[in-house]
């Protein structure tokens, strides 16, 4: 370790902590996505088609969210209906 390194170290101290924090967020996100059932996109598509038979909603009005805990799986559907004024 040279003298220069010592000064450099004091300036950059703690970049490992930033790396760890970024990785924890990223890995948690990747894992959540990885464990999603593969039928989700198709499910979302078909639900949207059914709803559009009855209500005029946007193409992105249906969102499907999947979460997994140790002892339960949660499938969350969120459908955004248009404003009352826009409905016929």
């Amino acid at each position: 370790m040279g003298l220069l390194d010592v000064f450099r170290a004091s300036r950059k101290k703690g970049s490992a902590a930033i790396a760890k924090e970024r990785l924890q967020i990223l890995v948690a996100h990747d894992r959540a996505f990885r464990n999603r059932p593969s039928y989700l996109p198709k499910l979302q598509q078909e639900i949207l088609e059914v709803i559009r038979k009855y209500v005029e909603v946007d193409l992105d009005a249906v969102s499907v969210n999947y979460e997994q805990d140790d002892d339960q799986e949660l499938l969350e559907l969120n459908i955004v209906l248009p404003d009352a004024a826009a409905r016929s």
Binding site: M1, G2, L3, V6, A9, K12, K13, G14, S15, A16, A17, A19, K20, R22, L23, Q24, L26, V27, D30, R31, R34
Partner: protein, 269 residues
Amino acid sequence: MARIIVITSGKGGVGKTTTAAAMAMGLAQRGHRTVVIDFDVGLRNLDLIMGCERRVVYDFVNVINGEANLNQALIRDKRCDGLYVLPASQTRDKEALTKEGVGRVLTELGKGYDYIVCDSPAGIEHGATMAMYYADDAVVVTNPEVSSVRDSDRMLGILASKSRRAEDGEEPIKEYLLLTRYAPTRVERGEMLSVDDVQEILSLSLLGVIPESQAVLNASNAGIPVVLDNDSTAGKAYGDMVARYLGDDLPMRFLDAERKGILGRLFGG
């Protein structure tokens, strides 16, 4: 039936081939009949690291295609009894590795060997998925660095879902973490992720920590697996890795920075 170990990582340049050579040599030194296979078709390098590049006549793809038999293609290591190298093809397309072909060769090798070490290419493409498909154990080689850790985690997802064991609903591949190019001084300065940091993120069973060492480059220059260099920290750490894999309970070494000279004492702590 041989135990199949894949050395994998996702990211390139983290030390897969060095680790595969060390693992194979270490197992053979302890009396286990071992073959190490290079899965990096088109970019073979295991032969160089093992120092047998001038003895390659036939390769893995020749055997799969029936152009040579295993005995013709396997290269016997001159330093250690019971160690053989199956080199990758340098000229073929990586699609030449078919699932059936690889399975056939591994089954045949399984009759005569205790361990089959598969050196995976980088990436998550065909060659890498073929290297891990039949594995019983996986050593995920990781550098304490963001892109390597992320790629390792991605590889864990693939090991859990796209292997033969996963497809057949068998017990999953046993996954081990091997941290390489570890620089304790940088960890102490807060510049590098520590073993504990990486463990916390990946939550894998830790097989070893290989310190950053000049011995690794010297070994690859000479074509001598670094595990044979008993004077170097990396060589010793690789030896420990093999012993741990075989069930020994050894403490991790070389995790703390060496204190050298007055500067180290003044500023190191």
